[in-house]
Amino acid sequence: MPNRSAAPPFTAEATIGPFYPGAFLAHIPQDLWTVAPLVAHHPAGQPIVFVARFVDSLKRPVPSLVVEFWQANAYGRYRHPLDRSDAPLDPQFDGFARVRTSDDGVARLVTIKPGAHPVNSDGGGGGAIRAPHLRLTIFASGIDRLVTQVFFDDEPLNQSDPLLQSIADARVRDRLIARRQTESGEDDAIEYQLAIVLRGDDETPFFDDWQPSGGGPSGA
């Protein structure tokens, strides 16, 4: 292991700006139910649509925001070389998508409900169980990269999730819990909704994934 007492010469992050090319969106999956037109494709698990509405400090929608979603498959396994769990990979599910918000600040993630999973022991988690959640990386004009995680209001494991419960204030925790909608949409999918407030009194909690030394790298 290289000596890490001196901070490496990290490159500063910057805003994505207003002009992120739409072509880049077309190159990365935006819909995890579909790989290509006319292909029968059925990832395991409960189909869901997560509808996130992004607003600023004036409660105005944030258009052209780019959000990357990352998640475990229905069995709680990530397609990631460091996930050594016994849960199976799903050959039809990679669990990564990138979408852009519409003019009304809404991003729709068409996916499946992720499974619960133990924390990878390399991370020092000691076997705690993570409730089903989506991991979000957010880019927009005016801000640098933001990361957070979104939970589901019909999951009892939320009560013991180590990340969610690390937030002391229940009102703040609530801002990370998407609400199941009774009138659900396409096919047999369940829709969940959540407002993500970038700044303001009811601001969404975002996480610091620049780890102190020794903790190893992390994504929120």
């Binding site: 292991m1 290289p2 490496p8 010469p9 990290f10 490159t11 500063a12 992050e13 910057a14 805003t15 994505i16 207003p18 002009f19 992120y20 090319p21 990365i28 004036l58 944030v62 052209s64 990357e68 990352w70 990530y78 397609r79 990631h80 070389p81 996930d83 990679d94 669990g95 990564f96 924390v119 990878n120 390399d122 991370g123 020092g124 988690g125 705690a128 993570r130 990386t137 880019f139 004009s141 005016g142 801000i143 640098d144 180590p162 990340l163 690390s166 937030i167 970038l198 700044r199 601001e203 975002f206 996480f207 610091d208 994934d209 620049w210 903790g215 790298p217 992390s218 994504g219 929120a220």
Partner: protein
């Protein structure tokens, strides 16, 4: 737990003022910390995607000065970030983006031979090489005379690392007046300025090395 970092607001940038979280970031507790930054399978690239100076191989060259940018992408252990996607985009020589959002706010002309975006992969040593047109400066806010200096946007995604940054050019007087450049801590500013190097192929060339927090993981399609 003590709070995490506090994100500064870019002064005079209304979007930054309205979108930057006001509270410090929350720390990730050890019990929830895992090493998963996305490591998604990435799509194959076409030939010539790393040459932004032409719409496609064999097509006419865009206006302005063709330049080369080259460097290495390294992780927090200074190990190469291998075979990982770099997305790059910028304005044309007159300071105009091809993005439709720029149509309403920029009087500078489009260049029919320049889209201003490209993609490339790092090699097994984390090296990359691209060609583009040196971007022009453009005015960000007319009411206060804020000009953005010439800059090229970089996004690196995959292999367990994620970074979005902007590369600036040396000896540009606008750098020191640009609020987005000035939010970079003073000690880190030299690292976001491309360094002139000897040209290999006739283009004026710049070296831009990138160091990202996180550890490069072997992409799943190479595992």
């Amino acid at each position: 737990m003590s709070p995490g970092r506090f994100l500064p607001v870019v002064v005079n940038d209304r979007e930054s003022e309205r979108r930057t979280p006001a509270k410090p970031l929350y720390r990730i507790p050890d019990a929830a910390r895992d090493p998963f930054t996305p490591c998604p399978p990435l799509p194959p690239l076409r030939a010539g995607e790393n040459d932004l100076t032409r719409l496609a191989p064999g097509r006419p060259q865009a206006g302005g000065e063709a330049i080369a940018i080259t460097g290495r992408v390294l992780d927090e252990d200074l190990q190469p970030v291998r075979r990982t996607l770099i997305e790059v985009w910028g304005a044309n020589a007159r300071g105009r983006y091809s993005h439709v959002i720029d149509a309403g706010r920029n009087d500078a002309p489009l260049d029919p031979n320049f889209y201003g975006f490209g993609r490339l992969l790092t090699d097994d040593d984390g090296r990359y090489h691209l060609r583009t047109i040196k971007p022009g400066a453009y005015i960000a806010r007319k009411d206060i005379g804020w000009w953005r200096p010439p800059h090229v946007h970089f996004s690196i995604v995959g292999s367990g690392v994620r970074l979005v940054t902007q590369m600036y050019f040396p000896e540009e007087p606008l750098n020191e007046k640009d609020y987005i450049f000035l939010i970079v801590p003073e000690t880190d500013r030299s690292r976001v300025i491309g360094q002139p190097i000897a040209s290999a192929d006739g283009d004026r060339s710049f070296r831009f090395d990138i160091v990202i927090r996180g550890r490069c993981q072997t992409p799943p399609d190479l595992d």
